[in-house]
Homo-oligomer: 146 residues x 2
């Protein structure tokens, strides 16, 4: 069974409505320079899929690297996406925690959770599992290309 | 300046409405035995204060220990408390991230954030800072007794 046994949490991720304002607030609290955000690639590179259909949605991403974990801030661009859904339903708040896995499809199947969005990024790919109703937070599986 | 520079996140904490059901869900995902919850001490031992006034509110607490961080689940008992507020306003979801500090009053002052609830537990004390509006999550400062 490919559960999440023994894995560390690599990221705590929040969806926000104005990433640069949030990044500045985090920078002040942690005494660091305000990080710049990046913008995710387009559909041609990510192949992003939301609930089984291709989506043109993208996101601005910013990262606060702490000693044991990274805080990721996400501002949705366009829709549909799990990020836009979360922002609409919950407002700026924690959306998911992330785990690095070797085979995200196998983990999703063993956990018996639906993959609500997946896509690729340079060097790897991600899948969001619909865990909010049972865990109060979604699960992101991150798989690096071999 | 006593900011949170260089500190690790010790806990990710969620407020939930039925702690044992959530603990069972987490245990299944992480492939562990379902942890038992504990109940916080009463006002006589905690001296819990909510927005400047003593509160009789308590909570059930459960912990999932992962390699680099602990996930804490909190079910409010009674009110008023930041936990009950969060559950009423946001439903089961992530409420705060926690940091160990040497002087929580000094950190709160330097961050310029209001302490919305504080109290003691065996071996230490805690303070919640009102950061949700600027960070999307509250901050808990944990200070162990010297």
């Amino acid at each position: 069974m490919a559960l999440l046994k023994g894995l560390k949490v690599t990221q705590i991720a929040l969806v926000v409505d104005d990433i640069d304002t949030y990044l500045a607030a985090y920078a002040r609290v942690f005494g660091i320079e305000t990080p710049s955000h990046i913008v995710t690639d387009g559909q041609d590179k990510t192949g992003a899929s939301y609930r089984g259909n291709m989506t043109e949605a993208r996101a601005k991403l910013g990262f606060i690297h702490l000693p044991n974990i990274t805080i990721e801030l996400i501002e949705p661009i366009g829709e549909p996406s799990v990020w836009k859904d979360h922002l609409d339903q919950h407002g700026p708040s924690v959306h998911h925690i992330a785990f690095g896995v070797a085979d995200k499809a196998a983990v999703a199947e063993d956990l018996g959770m639906d993959v609500v969005q997946h896509g690729a990024f340079t060097g790897g790919s991600y899948a969001y599992l619909d865990a909010f109703g049972t865990m109060g937070v979604d699960i992101e599986l991150l798989q690096m290309d071999s």
